[in-house]
Symmetry: none
Subunit: 536 residues, 2 copies
């Protein structure tokens, strides 16, 4: 039986950015687009060119993708032609192969929000889509508030869709903008649209998670005959979020009821990168990943000790709905590091450390990693710190230098011009080859701005490392990430530092402490030690 193709349309960069507190930089948008393309989505909606500077900059320098890059905008306004609408022109100017325009289909909104006649709105849709087609673009129409509109005035809502269809839209996307429509209603209304003459192969679905059913609503539309799903990585999006592609993709591919009938552009191999893609987005947003996220969460395959855990050891399928490796995730079973050891040996080999199977150091390293991860460390994104930890357990970590003590002062007071200014100062005492050196530095940069206590500490530490000095001279801090791993008053700070050197190396280290200065210092020390290992 031939399987029907489902098209995946990602809007993380556009609708995802509507999330409270989210504002991607152009570089971040590029990184996300590359990850999406590697995953294998069919369309990447990059933003609304002309509406905000970051989006325009992204399209000017968009990465080359296999996925169809798509610009978002809205249908032309009343009282002018599509050719003379400068907002629409701004969207077309991005030069993307596909363009998606949102337009109204709910009579109430046409009259209340736009304040134009119902006929004018239909004409705006038709003319706008026709204009895209005339320019040789693949045209998509996002039918805003479609389900609410259909319930209120079905003939009018269908008129709007038909206008886009007549004008040549490749996709007509049924949007549940407010997120309140139930999956059963989405199913029935999608069926009705198809019965009214628009082929399912031209229909898409766009849902929101306001009743925690955006995934189910998307799949209900597919069951009814729609063939495109719009969603975002990790369900990012306004209010409760958009349909979560991170859940939809593996469900379509791994659940027999769908996999037997449908296929997507995502390969089984790319699907193994799903957990990583999800974490990449959280990293960019500096969010703590949701442990309980379906498929990709750290707890998604965690089996609390007891009946489940012992059954899992006999046969994983007893309490697991899929093989976690299929989505790049891993099973967590307390007290079972059997599976862990071969993974660990692979990671050690990547760091150039060859350890025989069965070496007791392997169990010690796993134990140490587990203990530290419980305290808030993460070694997924701090490979250099992991290597140092493993070397210490293997007795292969040289003691280059020892920090005897440090002291940092942060002071804020009025200067002589009666302005509040702050200044930090750090003293570090280091012992190298039996000799103590004492270095002091303050936090002013070359423009006279205070860069804070961590900066002062880093400068003091790097000031005099004796015979190692030349090795660290070409080292620089390229990124600094701070995350609170436990909320409230028990807050523990995790600092991840990315460093680089003149030879093009880039490495990441981690530090954890309730004291943010301490956490930073620990990551900084690891960064220097790793560099000395390579160059020392």
């Amino acid at each position: 039986m031939t399987r029907e193709r489902i098209y995946l349309y990602d809007t993380t960069l556009r609708d995802g950015q509507q999330t409270q507190g989210v504002q991607f930089s152009t570089l971040e948008k590029q990184a996300i687009a590359r990850t999406l393309d590697k995953l294998g989505v069919d369309y990447i909606e990059g933003g609304w060119p002309g509406a905000n500077p970051t989006d325009s900059a992204f399209f000017e320098d968009a990465p080359e993708t296999r996925a169809i890059m798509t610009a978002f905008g809205m249908t032309k306004r009343a009282g002018r032609s599509a050719e003379n609408d400068e907002v629409l022109a701004g969207v077309l100017n991005a030069g993307t192969r596909a363009v998606c325009l949102v337009g109204k289909t709910h009579d109430f909104h046409v009259e209340t929000a736009l304040g134009i006649s119902l006929d004018e709105n239909v004409e705006n849709i038709e003319r706008s889509i026709a204009h895209l087609v005339a320019q040789g673009r693949e045209a998509l129409f996002d039918a805003e508030h479609f389900f609410d509109g259909y319930k209120a005035n079905a003939p009018y809502a269908l008129d709007c869709l038909n206008a886009a269809y007549r004008a040549g839209a490749r996709w007509i996307v049924l949007c549940d903008t407010n997120g309140g429509t139930q999956p059963g209603e989405i199913h029935d209304i999608t069926r009705a649209v198809i019965a009214a003459g628009i082929p399912g192969a031209r229909l898409g679905i766009h849902t929101h998670n306001d009743t925690e059913q955006a995934v189910a609503g998307s799949l209900a539309a597919i069951e009814a005959g729609a063939r495109q799903i719009q969603g975002t990585l990790n369900g990012l999006g306004e209010r409760c979020g958009n349909a979560n592609l991170t859940s939809i993709i593996p469900t379509l591919m791994l659940k027999e009821v769908y996999a037997s009938r449908f296929e997507t552009g995502v390969t089984a191999e790319a699907l193994e990168g799903l957990t990583h893609a999800s974490q990449m987005l959280d990293d960019i947003l500096n969010r703590v990943p949701r442990r309980q996220a379906a498929y990709v969460g750290a707890s998604a395959f965690a089996h609390k000790a007891g009946l489940h855990a012992s059954a899992i050891l006999k046969d994983p399928s007893t309490y697991e709905h899929i093989d976690p490796a299929a989505v790049g995730n891993a099973r967590i079973v307390p007290m079972s590091n059997q599976a862990g050891q071969s993974n660990l040996r692979r990671r050690l080999a990547e760091a150039g450390l060859k350890v025989e199977a069965g070496d007791p150091a392997l169990a010690r390293i796993l134990e140490e990693v587990k203990t530290r991860e419980d305290r808030g460390y993460t070694y997924d994104s701090a490979q250099a710190s992991f290597e140092l930890l493993a070397r210490a357990e293997l007795g292969q970590m040289p003691a280059f230098f020892e920090v005897k003590r440090y002291k940092v002062t942060v002071e804020r007071r009025k200067n002589k011009y009666d302005q509040m200014v702050s200044l930090s100062e750090a003293v570090v005492v280091v012992k190298i080859d039996g000799e103590k050196t004492l270095s002091v530095s303050e936090s002013m940069d070359e423009h006279g701005s205070d860069r804070g206590p961590v900066n002062a500490l880093a400068k003091a530490l790097a000031k005099d490392l004796g015979r190692y000095q030349s090795a660290i001279d070409d080292m620089r801090l390229v990124d600094f990430k701070v995350r609170i791993t436990q909320g409230g008053t028990e807050a523990v700070t995790r600092v991840i530092i990315d460093s680089a050197d003149g030879q093009g190396r880039r490495w990441s280290t981690v530090g954890v402490s309730p004291n943010i200065v301490d956490a930073s210092f620990e990551a900084l020390l690891d960064a220097i030690n790793w560099k000395l290992l390579r160059d020392g």
Copy 2:
């Protein structure tokens, strides 16, 4: 038309406790049970008496509830009678009105995990349920792995259900234990069970969120004829969690497609306590509430997009699927540089600040917000800081106190036991009513752990605020978020602090600086000033 009753069965205290890292105390269990009862669920599953001491202690001193208190256990083991099974006796000894026993219905599990014959398992189910009924208890049977079992061997899975039904079980609960069954499959199999002779009025549904569809799966079973839903508050539970009652309850009550046909034991008034109930559980778990949670999340009714925000001002129903007040939540129209003056006036009105249209202060406030957002501030998620900024521009910000200077020291050195330890100390000089006070504090918590420089500073600041002291005594820090807004050496730190007080208020403030201590201090000062505004 009479509406059919849907029964709500809460298992937060039992299945919810299977979550990685969750272990409720007896007191916490009591507090959660009272909240559930106030909400109006029909059954509260309190735990497995005899299996762990906290659960036994809870049943010994369970609160009086209108909801039916239920003990959980498993069907008797093979080779002994129900009367002589001490595990089952332990469950009955809790003396609850209802008892729920889990048993196997999947032939593979009976043979692999239990290692008994298929007939023995059926007999265990029947005898165990009959024993409960003979003791005058309301009996529930949790049919573990039912959907997978039905797919593998439908006649056998139905035999197991029938054994419980014959023996007099009030409820037979179809469990999707591994969480992989799709809503459409749940619907069809539930229909098949009813067609096979077990009335829908005796069927319950128990789903897990492994494909992010536990809510939809529960509602699909209701559509098929089941009349009980098992779930947890906030979807707490093993792996990806159980069906989320916090989403299911308002959906059943507020969505016409269900509300027209079904009713629950939850009143409209109790539903207004839903957001509070959800936060109570997060407080007990010391978890940061999920902003994007359906219905109850802080972002669930937050409108960021420029077009959406302006339409919301005209008519909230344009972009809201329900009235947020119905679930005790509130609308947020965040400030951001997309927002216009009418949006701004609305935000000000919410903070009790009435400003006439056209007041030149409006333009000044927008300009100030924009300037600060360019420097890394965000007022989307820091409404209290926004209010202070606006008040300052309007000349309506009292000067409660002035911080003249502060000084923080962070020191790390060896203690007398030759261990590296760190300690921070802060001195703050504050002027109130013309008088200077100097306070000093260190960063040790009650366990002797260093909590770092920000903690020391917060304690020193809160130590002596003169006549304002009483107003800030009930204030506490509930969350602390740090983000680096520009990478590399130009890193600027943004700190967002969430605070709460004894009156149930919760507010967020922001600080930005290259110096993380300064950024934290700024957010802290805003938090205190906002509290003084409300209480001063």
